[in-house]
Amino acid sequence: MSAAPGSVGWLLRHELRLAWFNASGAKDGAGRRRPGNAALALVLLGWAALHLLAWVTVEKLAGVAGDDLRILLAISAVLAGGATFMLSSAIKSSVLVMFERSDLDLLLSSPLSSHSIFTVRLAGVAAGTAAIYLFFLAPFAHAGLLQGQWRWLGIYPGVISVAVLCSCMAMLLTLGLVRVLGARRTRVVAQVIGALAGALLVIASQLQSLSSRQSQGRVQGLIEGLLGQDGVTDNPLLLPARAMLGEPLPMLLLAFVAGLVFVLSARRTHRFFARGLQLAASAPRSAPARGMPRRHRFGRSLFASVVVKEWRLIVRDPHLLSQVLLQLLFLLPLFFLIFQRSEVQVQALGAGLALLCGSLTGALAWIALSAEDAPDLLLVSPASLPTVRRAKLAAAIMPVLALVAVPLLWLIARMPAAGLIVWFIVCGAVLGAGLIVFWCGRPGVRSNFKGRGKGGIVMNMLELFNNLAWGALGWFLAGAARAPLSDAGAMAVAGSGVLALVVLWVAWLLRVKQR
C-alpha cells in the first residue's frame, strides 16, 4: 500500500528515493542521477561475497563467549571508531539535506508541518548513515540467523540505534554550527572529524610498533587489571557492545534510548531548525572586507596572472583545500613510522615523500588544469593556451615543492648524498604526477573533487603507477646512499625507473588534444 500524497510516509519515501539517486555520482542518459545497472550488479556481487566471508567467520566464532571482557572491549573500540565516522557522514548529510538541496522552501511552503518535514529529514539522515554500515555488517547477522546463532541479529538494532544517536547529535551540531560558521564551513568541519577519525584509527593500528616496550607493558597491565575485576562487564559504557552481541536487555535499552533521543530531537528542535534555516537564508554568503582594501597588481605577465589566480582560488576554498590536505593526513602515520626511535629512516622517507608529493601534485594539478571555472573566458581571450596551461601546471607544482623544501634542506644538511637523492626523487614524482594530469586530464568541476577518479580511470591509474614507481625508486636509491645496492636492488631500481618512464610515455601517447 502506498502512502497518501502529502503524508509523512509519502515524504519519507521521497526522501529515501532522493538518497538512493544520490548514491551514485553517475548520470543516466536523461541526465538524472541514479546508480547504473552495472554498478548495482557489482554492489550485489560484493554483498554476496561478503555473505560468504560472514558465513565462514560466524562459523569460526561459534564457540567464543559473548560476555568475554576482551571481546566487549574490542567491540566497544570498533563502535567508538565507527560512531565517529557515522557522526562525520551524518553532519555532511545534514548539511546537504538542510542547506544545499534547495528544496526546503518548496516543502515549507506546502501544507506539511515543519515538524513533519524535520522528522522526515532526520529519519532520512539516520537511514543513510546506517545503510553503509548495515551493508557491511548485515551479512554477519544473516549468516548467524542461518546457523542458529541468534546473538548476531543484535547487529541490526545495534547499528541502527548508534546511527540514530549519531544522526541526532549530527543534526543538532549542524544546526548550531551553520548558525555560527555557515553551511560550507560546517561541511569542512564534518570532513575534518571524519579524517581525524580515520587518521587516529591508522595511528592506533600502529600503536604496537610505535610505542616503547615499557608503554606496551603498562597497557597490557591495565587490561589485565580490568579483566581481574568483578562486575566490570556491567559497566554502562559496554552496553552498546553487549547490544551488538545480541543480549536482549541491552539491545532493548539501546533501542529505547535511540528512539527517545530521536523523538525528543525532532519534537524539541524543529523550531530551532526553522530559525536556523531562516538565518542561513538571510546570512550574507560572502563576508564584507575587513580593514583597508589591499592594493591590486595589474600588469602581471600572463603566466603570473594565471598562477596567482589559481592560488587564490585554491586557498579561498576551504572545502576543497580540506579535501586535498586530508588526503595527506592519512599519510602522516607513515611519518610516525619513519621517525620512530629518533632515527631517520631515509629509505622510508624517500618513498613516503615521493608518494605524498606525487599524490598532492596530482590533486592540485587536477584542480588547476581540469577544474577550470571559466574555460570559455580563456578560450575567447587572445592568451596563448599552452602558456596558460603551463602556468596552471606550475601553480600546482610550486606549492608542493615549497612544502617539502624545509625538510629536504634539513635532510641534505644532515645526510648530503641521501638528501640529494630524495630531492631528485621528489622532483621526479611531482613532475610526473603534474604531467600526467597536464596531458590526460579531462574537464571536471571543483565540487566533484572527490569523484574525479570516476571521470578519468586511466589518468588515475597512471598517477598511481607514477607514485608507486617513484616511491620504489626513493626506497632503493635512498638506501643506496648508505650501502651499495645488491644485484636485486639494482634490478629494482632499473625496473622502477623504466616503469616511471613508461608511465610518462603512455600518458603522452594518451594526451588529450587541447583546443
Partner: protein
Amino acid sequence: MKTAAELSAPALRLAGLRKDFGRPAVDGLDLVVRRGEFYALLGPNGAGKTTTLRLVTGLLAPDAGSIEVLGIDLAGAPAAAKAKMAYLPDEPMLYGKLKPFEYLEFVAGLWGVRAEVAEPRARELLDWLDLGKHAHELTEGFSRGMKQKLALAGALVHDPELLILDEPLTGLDAAAARQVKDLLLAHVAKGGTVILTTHILEVAERLAQRIGIVRQGRLIAEGTLDELRALTQGGSLEDVFLQLTATP
C-alpha cells in the same frame, strides 16, 4: 600598426558560415556588421543566434565558411582577432572565489593590458556599474545582476573594438539594465561596435541601429527598424518579428 584593409574592413564579416550539430544550427549565414554600429541579432529559440556568437568568438569551429573580425581572419590569426573583441555570454564567466578587482586584474592579464591602462579603467568601470563598494567581496555572494555587471566590466577592461553580448539583460533589474544599456551606448558613441542578441525586442528597438533576424540558422531579414517595417505590414518590432519568423 593597422593595415589599410583592416582599417576599412567592417567590424564583422561572416561568409557562408555553417555549423551542424546533427541538424544545421547555422546554415550558410552571410552577415556584415559595420564599424561603430549597434547591431541586434534576433530570432526565435533555437534559431542559431548563440551558436553564431560562439563561432565568432572562437568557442566553436565552423564546419564551413569564414569569419573576419575587423579585417582579421579568425581562422588564420585567432589571437589577433580575439585581442580586438570581447564576449559576454548569458551565463557570466566568473570565478566565485575572486573579488571584482582580482577578476579584472586576471582578465587584464589574459588580454595583456598594461597596468597603467588597466587599473584606472577597472576602477572607472566598477564605479560606473556601481560595484565599487563591493570591490573587495568574493563574487560568489553577488546577485545575478551584480555578476552580469562584473562580467561586462571584464569584457570592457581591455577596451575592445567589437563587443559581443548574448542576452546581456536577462535577469537584471531595471536599474542594472539601465546601467548596462548606458555603458553599451557609451561604447558605441566612442566608436566601438556592439553586437547583441536579445529576446527583449524593446531593447533592440530602442538601442540598435540595425537589426538582423535569423531563423533556422539563416539570415531572413536585415536592416533598420524602418526598413524592416517596409518589408512587412509595419507596426512595432514585435509585430515585424512575429510576421517574419512565423512558420510558413
